[in-house]
């Protein structure tokens, strides 16, 4: 078969992430975008589950044991500095407030993440 060579994204348009960063936008390509009721969608059945409900993973006995084991391996004796979140939060918030660009649409898009249905082929080879 012929392997298509993808053209570069239009110059200066901020594009160009298509191939390199595909993995990070797969769930958007598959689960977002306009759906037209009168058109069909190709089946995405039978391919690897990509996105998952994170809560399911966190709340399982396997996860508990894994966390316990990971904690047991940690070396906390070296005077390690807590990392946590940084002090720049206040600074960012101030900057943000000053440079506020939100308009009339603000607040409309607070939709909760949909139930997980996304599945995708991890490998493009036929």
């Amino acid at each position: 078969m012929t392997i298509m060579s993808q053209p570069p994204a239009a110059a200066g348009g901020g594009g160009g992430s298509a191939a390199g960063a595909l993995y990070d936008v797969i769930e958007l390509i598959l689960d977002r975008g306009l759906v037209i009721d009168v058109f069909v969608r190709v089946s995405i059945v039978g391919i690897e589950l990509l996105t998952i409900d994170a809560r399911v993973v966190v709340a399982s006995i396997d996860t508990y044991l894994r966390f316990a084991e990971a904690c047991g391996r940690l070396d906390l004796t070296g005077g390690r500095q807590p990392v946590g979140l940084p002090a720049i939060v206040g600074q960012i918030t101030e900057n943000s407030a000053e440079r506020r660009v939100r308009g009339a649409l603000t607040g409309a898009g607070r939709a909760i993440a949909d139930t997980i249905q996304d599945i995708v082929t991890p490998d493009g080879r036929d």
């Binding site: 975008g33 190709v42 508990y64 979140l85 939060v89 918030t93 660009v101 995708v120």
Partner: protein, 245 residues
């Protein structure tokens, strides 16, 4: 022949389609179906289309390239119409809606932000900040790990703390970036990520958004990884902007 539909746009979009390839194993040419002042970008729909990497890349590349040259309403991957006439009929049926969507999305791009903790750093931080958890961890370690039920009970408490931290850090990331966006919307949860969120950003605010995202990335270095994608076609906002009519 069935038509694979990529996006809707204004008929005035330059639609430089010659350099683009559609989905499918064979190189498929793109064409425009123009109607009612709108244009739909389509190609022949290949038989047995599946979401292969090649096809996802083709879909994304078409949308990103056209989105960089004008406003597009991206369709979800895998949308297939019976033929071009059916596409034209849909442009007629939804002419007002699509024109309105294009107006609302004009001069906006989507950025997607994913954040993932580095687990050891997160756990170390949690234990360091919680004397009780830390003492329990030391006790289990002194006991050679403890029984399975003891480890599970401890792990459950750690898990709860992790979940609280995920929620807190997600709110932190969203709060820092939200002021630069017109809209934000949670994207589907993805394994390993404590936050997966998309922002609809005015084109002119991209630099400010990216600057703050870079600050965040630096600030969280060693604790969490932040990945920013875009400029993307406004996948996540084709519904959200309509809800605001």
């Amino acid at each position: 022949m069935a038509s694979y539909v990529y996006c809707f746009t204004h008929a005035e979009h330059p639609l430089a389609l010659d350099s683009l390839c559609g989905v499918g194993a064979e190189e498929s040419a793109l064409r425009a179906v123009r109607h009612e002042g709108l244009a739909a970008v389509v190609s022949d729909a290949p038989e047995g289309l599946r979401p292969k990497r090649r096809d996802l890349v083709a879909h994304e590349t078409v949308l990103e390239t056209l989105g960089a040259a004008g406003t597009v309403v991206p369709l979800r991957f895998g949308t297939v119409a019976p033929d071009d006439d059916a596409v034209a009929a849909e442009l007629t049926r939804g002419a007002h809606r699509y024109a309105d969507l294009l107006t609302r999305l004009a001069d906006h791009v989507e950025r997607n932000v994913k954040g993932a903790h580095q687990e050891d750093a997160l756990l170390a931080d949690l234990l360091t900040g919680n004397p009780e958890l830390r003492a329990r961890n030391e006790a289990l370690r002194a006991a050679g790990g403890g029984s399975q039920s003891e480890r599970a009970a401890f792990g459950e408490r750690v898990s709860l703390a992790v979940e609280q931290r995920r929620v807190r850090d997600a709110a932190y990331v969203v709060a820092a970036l939200r002021p630069f966006a017109q809209l934000d919307r949670h994207a589907p949860p993805v394994e390993g990520c404590f936050v997966n969120v998309s922002f609809l950003i005015p084109s002119g605010a991209q630099d400010d958004f990216d600057a703050v995202a870079a600050q965040l990335r630096t600030a969280m270095d060693g604790y969490a990884e932040l990945r920013v994608s875009g400029a993307l076609p406004p996948y996540s906002f084709v519904d959200a902007v309509e809800a605001n009519v």
